[in-house]
Symmetry: C2
Subunit: 320 residues, 2 copies
Amino acid sequence: MKVLIIGGGGLVGQKLARKLAERGTLRGETIDTMVLADIVDPQPVEAGFTVETAACDIADPASLAATIDDKTDVIYLLAAIVSAQAEEDLDIGLKVNMMGTLNVLQRCRELGTKPVLVFTSSVAVNGGEVEQPYNDQTLLNPQTSYGAQKAIGELLVNDFSRRGLVDGRGFRLPTISVRPGKPNRAASGFMSSIFREPLQGETANCPVDEDFNHYYLSPRKCVENLIKGAEIPEEKLGKNRCMMMPGRVWTIRQMIDAMTAVVGPETAERITWNKQPELDAILAGWRMDIRADKAEALGLEADASFEDNIRYFLEDDIAK
Amino acid sequence: MKVLIIGGGGLVGQKLARKLAERGTLRGETIDTMVLADIVDPQPVEAGFTVETAACDIADPASLAATIDDKTDVIYLLAAIVSAQAEEDLDIGLKVNMMGTLNVLQRCRELGTKPVLVFTSSVAVNGGEVEQPYNDQTLLNPQTSYGAQKAIGELLVNDFSRRGLVDGRGFRLPTISVRPGKPNRAASGFMSSIFREPLQGETANCPVDEDFNHYYLSPRKCVENLIKGAEIPEEKLGKNRCMMMPGRVWTIRQMIDAMTAVVGPETAERITWNKQPELDAILAGWRMDIRADKAEALGLEADASFEDNIRYFLEDDIAK
């Protein structure tokens, strides 16, 4: 079993690689080779099997031809131009998120080996004038270029799979919280930083009201779901192979209460509550009430509670 | 007012051109120039204003640059690789239906003039595991490459419009019946030929049961809706600018009864009823119960009855 992770240098890619190294198997087979590919040669992980790294640009078919060979059984396509950059630069988003996904699919078609392709879509495909809650039957009406490009990726993955050219399956990632690392200026940054920074002894600002609701998943459960996602038998995927990955809808208040239940009340006192009017319009579109019935029926799971998200951060990621 | 019809050589393009010639105005302005463009130089129409024709390949950005200039106020993008060909040849469908649509949008962006773009999507974006009736809020889960490429076009039209690069609006055309012309081998061919051929004194075969239901519109109403579609004020389009064009759900029996009501019972006796098992799987996916509430609220209209479809064919199209 040869596994390729495109986007193997990112947060989810690295965690997925470490988890696969720990398991040693995928789809009931022993992994003998894992390739971590990213736009810059990613950090390898320790494993009991061969781990290779590669620089790969999915916007370049020749680069993909060098990276995806006919021995590759499972491909994770995690690489993407993220939301803020895709909004700033339409062309780079189209080139990587849309054409890059098509290039991966065309490479699989060219090989004729019908590999399993796990594509990560995003909660950002939702939005617009569609009524909530969003479920497996609701129109994708994205309101960012990133969301539009991911929705296009879903249509391509479905069509290439329907034609038997690849065994694709796509999962729309919830907002991942608690993300490790440094604070960033992304509009969604506060959704992790209001927990991460206080848990690490720092302050952080929350720019929305306590009743702001959104759809979340921990990094640990995300990785477990990506592994399960590769293992779903093809015949169970139905006619729409792209679906919401299970997460849970929490309000900011519920999440803070969960943090308090795990670590006591002092931590939440490090959160400040200053509105950022320039973010209001963006964040209004991010209230999201979502149902992931199909993925749940296929065995994927949300966190049991946000207390778990907090515990996983403390166990897996807190800066020491 | 300069109007460009890309796909101006096709059935709908020619009828639209003739209707615009007859009206002389669009969006409240006098038309001074109309350009009919198609992959081969289309037939011009008679009009009281300048009519130009052009050969244009939307898959080629240079060809589009020569065809769409900064004087163009309204663009109709009707050109496409049709369903059967896009299913046979994935690459040509991607090149024309997906990249061609993107090329038109990029050309509009390059000009910076924000023209009105009327994009024709298709009933074929519907299908898959989505429950019927399909409405303005239901997931697009197309089960043909043509449908997937049209759904991608919708996402691109919405995103370029959201960014203010074009004033796009997309309409999913119902199955057009009664189409004039010769019988063809398309799986959907019978949906026109069982009326057209008998009305012209010939026989035709119906390969489905009397209770087969689908979603239809006459060519005349389609053209009227495309004109109204260009005239909808941008601010009324909302966050999803692509919608089903109103049609009506009829069973084969209802349509035949309508024909009999208009022309008497002898005509329907020219229909034969032989199943074509090779079509069963395709046609099972074409039973379609659809609601077009949004487009109706914006003033677009279905035929009042299938008797009207028959009358329009007799008035506009019957072979003399």
